[in-house]
Symmetry: C2
Subunit: 129 residues, 2 copies
DNA sequence: TATTTGTTACACTTTTGATAGAACAGATAT
DNA sequence: ATATCTGTTCTATCAAAAGTGTAACAAATA
């Protein structure tokens, strides 16, 4: 699992960390039941403060991606609230697509991009889910 | 054109304003060549400070959605840098889809959502663009 | 001339992001 | 038992971002 913070990005470190972990889960580089490095290990590895990692883990817990276990650390545990997930996705997607539409990105190009990304996530094994 | 700030949102006011204007352009409620209300008018109307509106307009200018004219104000003028737009869309889409995949949102559901949003933007008149 | 435009400058407050050190209870392994 | 690890929680500090307020300026307009 490659985790790297872009210290020049304008995105907050804890947001970058959250997104990369979520991408890791989606691409199955981290699997359900696996534990993330402890806040201190992770902090050392990627070069940021323990409390910043802790904040990222707390957000991931709040959003239902991990559960925090005192003995095992942050364990990937997906809380499936699909209705809520669909609502949030729609809100975010609306803004992303609106930007694209303004820049003449076509419907077909978006569909192709979605397929391409989905292939990366599931490796083509997502006929049902 | 309905513009409203959610004062309870954790999203910055100027980001909310940017997104709503972009949505307005995408849905053609604001058309190319039209001018947005002046920073002072807009500030009065939606109940935030002039400088915050100015910041939003500056960001929209920077991102190529409007041009700022001393006499006419902020005029919708789309600077089409499609390659850049596609790159940014891909980055943002990756995170949005990853979240969805973790929550069992299917490829088909995403495609349907994209179609639905595109219909809202272009009213079904986007076979070519 | 008076008004409106974007623009800029200075000042100020509040919130957020990030870091730091320290301590605690619970769990674990030696 | 001891030492070590876990998340967690304090207090503290610093910098940057977000937002507001007042004021002024040049350019354009009516």
């Amino acid at each position: 699992m490659i985790l790297e913070i872009d210290f020049n990005s304008d995105e907050a470190y804890y947001i970058q960390l959250c997104n990369q972990i979520i991408l890791g889960i989606a691409t199955e580089r981290i699997r359900e039941g696996e534990a993330l490095p402890s806040v201190r290990q992770m902090a050392d590895r990627i070069g940021i403060n323990m409390h910043t990692v802790n904040k990222a883990y707390s957000v991931l817990k709040q959003e239902g991606f991990v559960k925090l276990d005192r003995r095992r650390g942050a364990v990937v545990s997906l809380d499936i609230d699909k209705i809520r997930a669909l609502e949030e996705m729609r809100r975010e997607l609306a803004v992303v697509l609106a930007r694209g539409v303004c820049k003449n990105v076509s419907r077909q190009e978006v569909h192709e991009m979605v397929d391409d990304l989905f292939d990366r996530f599931t490796g083509g094994m997502d006929q049902n889910s």
